[in-house]
């Protein structure tokens, strides 16, 4: 043992000691200073964020109600199933995989693979219903599994009415974020505020045992009460879908019903739409089948995406179109407001007008001869309106175009509202002015059109269209209500009344009379516009815009079909009947009392008296007194039942069928096909089988050239004799 080696050992030991203390401990202390003092606050913030995020206690998303507080969209608790592979042992791995694959319907091998990952957290299934979660809990208890499977609370969005109002409602993504419609527009209100302090929850989402003073619990999202009325929405969607099928519409249709005084959207429908419970599935069957047949690849993916985008698109606010003749109500109202025309101002209409060096024809090339201004609207003469446009001049025309809200977005609380395209006053050369006057050469959105129509109807006030009436907090207090006061007055109340009267006349006997319902004083205007962007083939947009009742307007409505490929593409024949049918169902629901003119009264229905229990002779007499005829079946002495039931309206002269014994009461007849007939033909067919007709539409205006367009009970249905079938008529001579 030499001294040298001892000294070396001492030196080397001291060196190791100093290395450990200075380099080793120094380095870690240096890092602690960096992490705790320098970056401490940042990391602390991130830790809190992390704890917020990982508690998975997202605030419950608010509910969406209709006007009558029916639930349109609601969040319910569901569960995320998470594996903790690090806590799964080889002993229970197989049991867990087998059990979960059975309960969740997943492949066992996949679960086994997940269970071998080197992680502490692996989501294997999301949005699992509470009943399934209970099964998993029971499975864990039964097999004594304490670690390895976590269940984390989550929310799922339900839309109880399925496709109803899907375009307005939109839908949510996997993280409950709003992706379209109201869900997207009001996402921040609906989402609520996540808990700012996480300490209340541990990483698996159950309560911690500690009571932290700083706790700020998550605030559930606000709920929305829409202006939409589920019943009206349902009526509108049903009729819109029927019209879509009847007219073989290629590019979907849409319709809006608005409260003219407040701008509240009572119903807004787009067909074909989608089911928000399953928004990514292509709802249109033919399209879905066509895509399913495609081979997998980029092309298919693209087709699916295109179809999805199409079914999510809200045509009411995102599509623009040339309104065509519907716009004449705006040009007309502007000219009347400026006292440039009155109802009786005379116009000559030779069937064309030379503007600059161009000759622009009317829709009826032979012309109308001499017309008053009011007649010009009813006949929808383009020449008359080119002349009205010339009277206004570019400056005044554009002033009203702007005032009626066509130059800016309406600001409706729905995403994706498009901008209109138009000529400004200085760009309106004679040709542009002439065509603009009858609704061509500019494009606007349907919502802009219906808002302007509401202004024409309501005394001249331009309203704020909106779909959310009020926002409620999680306990039901009102947080915010919609703006219902008008933006501005565009025309005077007097002008509004006068133009309304003309439009009512139009709906009663003019081009728009296919929208006529006796007693409800409907005012309206049809429109058929050529889609200019399509150069290869002629495609049309058929629309009908109007309001009711004309003397005290309540609702305005626009029906719009894009590319009808049926027997007709005219607004009066495609959109008109749908408008009519919807109004006839919606107005009674809204409590609008019918007011009949004398002429209408004469043609009107009679009420069926109650004759059950009377003798045959008494019953016959009573029915005759009510202006009806009777038909008896059976061999009994007294009437045991009657069709139609007492108090039902059927046309005067209609037949009441009376049964005198029970056997005969079960007699049925088949409803004949009543579409495409004149009034007389329809009556003949109906009486042949012993059923009653209720007539709506153009037939009541007294003109001759009307044919039936719709019947409410489909042909071939077995009904009791005497049953009332409603048939609507349109006027064929008046098309544009």
């Amino acid at each position: 043992m030499s001294k040298g080696t001892n000294i070396r050992m001492w030196h080397r030991t001291v060196f190791v000691l100093l290395m450990m203390i200075v380099a080793g401990f120094g380095a870690v202390v240096f890092n602690l200073v960096r992490l705790q003092i320098v970056e401490g606050e940042t990391l602390k913030m991130r830790a809190v964020d992390n704890q917020v995020k990982d508690t998975v206690l997202t605030a419950q998303r608010g509910t969406i109600y209709d006007q009558n507080l029916k639930i349109l969209a609601q969040s319910a608790t569901v569960w995320q199933v998470v594996l903790e592979p690090a806590y799964i042992t080889d002993k229970n791995r197989d049991v867990i995989a087998a059990g979960l694959s059975e309960i969740l319907g997943l492949d066992k091998e996949t679960i086994l693979k997940h269970s071998k990952k080197k992680t502490y957290y692996d989501v294997i299934k999301r949005k699992v219903e509470s009943s399934v979660k209970d099964q998993i809990v029971a499975f864990k208890d039964k097999n004594d599994i304490t670690n390895g499977i976590r269940l984390i609370e989550d929310y799922k969005r339900y839309y109880p009415y399925g496709t109803l109002a899907s375009t307005i409602l939109g839908f949510t993504g996997t993280d409950s974020q709003g992706l379209s419609g109201i869900e997207a527009e009001y996402d921040s209100e609906l989402t609520g505020v996540s808990g700012k302090l996480v300490t209340a929850k541990n990483a698996i989402g159950t309560d911690m045992q500690y009571d932290y003073e700083q706790e700020v619990p998550a605030q559930d999202g606000h709920s929305l009460v829409l202006t939409i009325d589920e019943v009206v929405q349902h009526i509108l969607e049903k009729n819109l879908a029927e019209g879509l099928a009847d007219n073989n519409v290629q590019n979907r249709g849409c319709a809006i019903i608005m409260n003219v005084k407040t701008g509240a959207i009572i119903a807004m429908a787009v067909k074909g739409d989608f089911d928000p419970n399953d928004p990514f599935t292509i709802a249109d069957k033919t399209q879905a089948d066509a895509i399913a047949k495609m081979t997998d690849g980029a092309e298919k993916t693209q087709a699916i995406q295109k179809a999805q985008q199409a079914q999510w698109r809200n045509k009411c606010v995102s599509d623009t179109y040339q309104p065509g003749s519907v716009f004449k109500m705006i040009t007309g109202a502007s000219a009347m407001e400026e006292n440039l025309v009155s109802e009786n101002t005379q116009f000559s209409c030779p069937g064309y007008l030379k503007v600059g060096d161009r000759i622009i024809h009317d829709w009826r090339r032979s012309g109308f001869g001499s017309l008053t201004f009011a007649q010009g609207i009813c006949k929808s003469s383009n020449v008359v309106f080119m002349k009205v446009g010339q009277l206004l001049g570019p400056d005044l025309f554009f002033k009203y175009f702007d005032a009626f809200g066509f130059t800016s977005k309406t600001g409706i609380d729905l995403p994706g509202e498009s901008r209109s395209l138009y000529y400004t006053a200085s760009q309106l050369k004679p040709v542009e002015l002439a065509t603009s006057a009858f609704g061509q050469s500019f494009t606007i959105t349907p919502i802009q059109m219906v808002t302007a129509c509401a202004a024409v109807a309501n005394g001249g006030y331009l309203v704020h269209p909106h779909v959310v009436d009020r926002i409620l907090d999680s306990v039901g207090n009102i947080v915010k209500t919609a703006e219902t006061s008008p933006k501005r007055q565009v025309i005077s109340e007097d002008t509004s009344k006068r133009i309304s009267a003309i439009l009512q006349q139009d709906a009663t006997s003019g081009t728009a009379s296919s929208g006529y319902i006796p007693g409800y004083r409907i005012a309206g205007k049809t429109g058929t516009s050529e889609k200019q962007e399509i150069k290869t083939s002629k495609e049309y947009i058929a629309s009908y815009c109007g309001f009711a009742p004309a003397d005290d307007p309540r609702i305005a409505m626009l029906v719009f079909y894009d590319e009808p490929h049926g027997s007709s593409y005219y607004g009066s024949q495609v959109a008109g009947p749908v408008f009519l049918k919807t109004m006839s169902e919606v107005l009674p629901y809204l409590g609008v009392e019918p007011v009949y003119t004398e002429e209408e009264m004469a043609k009107l229905d009679a009420q069926t008296p109650s004759v059950t229990g009377m003798t045959v002779a008494q019953a016959k007499n009573k029915i005759f007194q009510n202006g009806l005829t009777s038909q008896f079946y059976g061999s009994g002495e007294k009437v045991v039942s009657q069709v139609p039931e007492p108090g039902k309206s059927i046309p005067k002269g209609g037949q009441v069928v009376l049964f005198t014994d029970e056997q005969s009461a079960s007699k049925t007849v088949a409803v004949p096909d009543l579409v495409g007939l004149t009034l007389a033909q329809a009556n003949e067919r109906a009486s042949a089988v012993g059923i009653n007709l209720s007539i709506t539409g153009a037939a009541l205006s007294g003109t001759a050239n009307t044919i039936s367009k719709l019947q409410d009970v489909p042909a071939g249905t077995k009904v009791s004799p005497g049953t009332v079938v409603t048939v609507s008529f349109i006027e064929t001579s008046h098309v544009e």
Binding site: M1, M20, L32, I37, V48, A86, D90, Y120, Y121
Partner: protein
């Protein structure tokens, strides 16, 4: 602080200022006392400062282990918050008994155990390879009611012991290849190979470092270290970059470089533990959230009672608390090395230094992992991390240091 100065200025008598003189005197002193006892070395008292530091660290360690494990025990063991601490406390008491017993045992008898213990460690390392894999690695032997046991703990001790044994016997020939390098390279290579078979990279690294330190102190020529480090560095680089079966190690290195990366779900999973640890440390700030107030232990930080316990310490006690604990560890190492250096013979010196260096390396590497200074690898924190058998082994090793202190030429209190 006067106490500390006492440790640097040792030896009650023979007040020589030169270190060589002190060592010489200590050796002579040791020789003198050795004759007076055989198996049990009770003649002189053990070093109370060292004992005090061990006890303080053990108590703080148990308190922090309880705090860190509390939530995990509650949620994972049917609401039994005392699940981990009750077991650990029993092992702590058992460990203290073992420690005192060993401290009375003349450490020279370990000369005779060096080779048997080495062979036992090899046998256990082979045996453990046939135990069921946990997370894909074979590191644990199940002892039933006594919990689990890592043979790598024994392997560490066996290397310290056999190196101390061989170096002290061949001290003057350490400059040669045949006596100074070859046997150690073979023994260390064998242990390392068995550990990599499990595989257990962190234990391999620690054992290699302990071996290197002991050879360095034992007087191996520096050029051998240059060569060994070159080979070692190349090997590590190869493993990280190329070897597929160690893919988990290279994943961990990716995770180390960017602990907050969200690039892939796999990466998020890999960095989960590290990022939760950093959140915990950062949340602590200067003064901490207070004892028992950690939020990250509520299942955010997986198994907070094990390797990442120091993160919870930082969160609850803050930088000040963490620094105090690191200083306590530093004092323990300082005192332990002082005791060892003043041991009466080379065997005691090397054995003591080896054991203390092992504790020091574990502390440094553990805190380095927790603070993401080095990539995540499983190294436990002495006195703090949960684990009954490893605590007993640790306390037994501290017992050996205390046994050395009984005859060490330092001032006893």
């Amino acid at each position: 602080m006067t106490r500390h100065q006492g440790t640097v200025t040792p030896m009650p008598r023979n007040m020589s200022k030169r270190p060589t003189g002190e060592i010489h005197a200590a050796a002579a002193y040791g020789k003198k006392v050795r004759k007076k006892f055989r198996i049990f070395s009770v003649r002189s008292g053990m070093d109370l400062p060292f004992l005090f530091l061990v006890m303080v660290l053990l108590i703080i360690g148990l308190i922090m282990m309880f705090s860190a494990s509390y939530a995990n025990a509650f949620y994972r063991h049917n609401g039994n918050s005392y699940f981990f601490i009750s077991k650990q406390a029993i092992f702590a008491v058992l460990g203290l008994v073992v420690m005192f017993a060993v401290s009375y045992f003349d450490y020279h008898h370990f000369h005779e155990f060096a080779i048997p213990i080495l062979l036992v460690s090899y046998a256990l390392l082979v045996l453990v390879r046939f135990m069921p894999a946990v997370n894909g690695v074979h590191r644990w032997i199940d002892l039933g009611p006594f919990g689990q046991f890592q043979p790598s703990e024994i392997a560490k001790f066996s290397i310290v012991l056999i190196f101390a044994h061989l170096i002290s016997l061949n001290f003057n020939r350490m400059g040669t290849f045949l006596y100074g390098v070859l046997p150690y390279a073979l023994i260390l290579g064998m242990t390392a190979a068995l550990l990599m078979w499990e595989p257990h990279v962190s234990a391999t690294v620690i054992i290699a470092l302990i071996g290197a330190v002991m050879l360095f102190i034992g007087g191996v020529k520096l050029r051998w270290f240059v060569g060994a480090f070159s080979i070692f560095g190349a090997g590590v680089a190869y493993l990280v970059l190329f070897a597929k079966e160690y893919a988990y190690a290279s994943d961990r290195i990716t995770a180390w470089l960017d602990p907050f990366s969200n690039a892939t779900p796999e990466l998020i999973a890999d960095t989960w533990q590290t990022r939760q640890s950093l959140y915990a440390i950062g949340s602590g700030g200067l003064l901490g959230l207070g004892l028992g107030q950690s939020r990250q232990k509520f299942l955010y930080l997986p198994e907070p009672q094990n390797d990442f316990i120091f993160a919870i310490v930082c969160e609850e006690l803050g930088f000040i608390g963490a620094l105090i604990i690191i200083i306590l560890f530093a004092m323990l190492i300082w005192r332990g090395i002082t005791i060892s250096l003043r041991s009466r013979d080379k065997f005691g010196r090397l054995l003591g230094i080896g054991l203390i260096v092992q504790v020091g390396l574990q502390v440094i590497l553990n805190v380095a992992v927790v603070t993401n200074t080095i990539p995540n690898t499983g190294i436990s924190l002495p006195f703090f991390s949960y684990g009954g058998t490893s605590l007993v082994i640790l306390l037994a090793e501290m017992g050996i240091v205390l046994s050395i202190s009984r005859t060490s030429a330092i001032e006893k209190i």
